[in-house]
């Protein structure tokens, strides 16, 4: 064991969605993006829980925007992927690609 950890499925999808959304990555578009890709309802609290876990690992950072009246005076919390987050994503992609490439073609066709 070298102590390196890889991203889980949900974390991977979250990070990719945050990157895709860019500057406007806050709870609502993130959960909508995940819903459209996964095809099922995503609870906003699970999105926040996962993002906070990623923030604890230093893979994302967040900052609060200005409170808006249409949100009942509550601020949006914007997320951004850090350099560590990007390198973790690349590492996970490299590993997954490597694993896919090890599968022989006939087996891939059966999947």
């Amino acid at each position: 064991m070298n102590g390196r950890t890889y991203l889980g499925e949900f974390e991977l999808m979250l990070l990719l969605t945050v990157i895709q959304l860019g500057e406007g990555a806050y709870g609502v578009p993130i959960s909508r993006g995940l819903e459209s890709h996964r095809g099922r309802v995503v609870s906003l609290s699970s999105v926040y829980a996962a993002l906070e876990r990623l923030e604890g690992k230093g893979l994302v950072v967040s900052n609060f925007g200005d409170p808006t009246p249409e949100r009942g005076g509550k601020a949006k919390r914007y997320f951004r992927v850090t350099k560590d987050g990007l390198s973790q994503l690349n590492e996970t992609r490299r590993l997954l690609t490597q694993l896919w490439q090890t599968l022989p073609q006939p087996k891939l066709e059966r999947i």
Partner: protein, 199 residues
């Protein structure tokens, strides 16, 4: 039909039952989604999921504390038995039981407070030592606050138990194990019951 305002009870529950920094942003997101056409059922579902997630996280964050508290609580019956044994010693507690009311009541209450808080504080001290050895140490102010809060909680729970024992006579055995219930009621027989305990 989608009313403009989300269910107020659900909003209140979200505000008060989900601790943490995401509370405000989550509340705003839910409101934004609701105003854009989500149903009341969806809003309730999200609020319940948020509360469940918050509870799960709290439990996970304090798993060591919960485990320790559960294990320490298992020692409570043994502690009760020990105190009961000491209590039966006439040289130690005899003078207290022989006091006239209201002094017997004050003495019994004080004694129960000392006995209860000794058990709780011993457990807390042990936890702090273990926790301090595992992670970082605790500040004096934090320890003081924890001790005071535990004492307040103990007093409230004890008062609740006593009220319950007065209202429901069948539950007397819950708190009468230390022999206080009969001694702190001014009209009830107090130390008359004691002779069969320590003589």
């Amino acid at each position: 039909m989608n009313p403009k305002e989300p269910p107020s009870l659900a909003s209140w529950m979200l505000l008060h039952l989900t601790p943490g920094p995401c509370n405000e942003a989550l509340g705003g997101d839910l409101l934004e989604e609701f105003c854009s056409g989500r149903s009341v059922a969806w809003y309730w579902g999200q609020v319940i999921a948020a509360i469940a997630t918050a509870c799960f996280r709290e439990i996970a964050d304090h798993s060591f504390l919960l485990l320790f508290a559960a294990m320490w609580s298992m020692l409570a019956p043994a502690w009760d038995l020990l105190i009961e044994k000491i209590e039966r010693n006439p040289t130690v507690f005899g003078p207290i039981w022989n006091l006239a009311w209201p002094w017997s009541t004050c003495a019994a209450l004080g004694l129960s407070l000392i006995i209860g808080s000794t058990f709780i504080w011993t457990g807390m001290s042990l936890y702090l030592v273990l926790q301090g050895a595992i992670t970082r140490g605790f500040g004096i102010r934090r320890i003081g606050r924890a001790l005071a809060m535990s004492l307040c909680a103990f007093i409230v729970v004890s008062a609740g138990m006593f009220a319950l024992s007065v209202l429901l006579p069948a539950s007397n055995h819950l708190i009468d194990r230390l022999g206080f219930a009969s001694s702190i009621t001014p009209t009830g027989p107090h130390y008359e019951e004691k002779p069969n305990i320590y003589y």
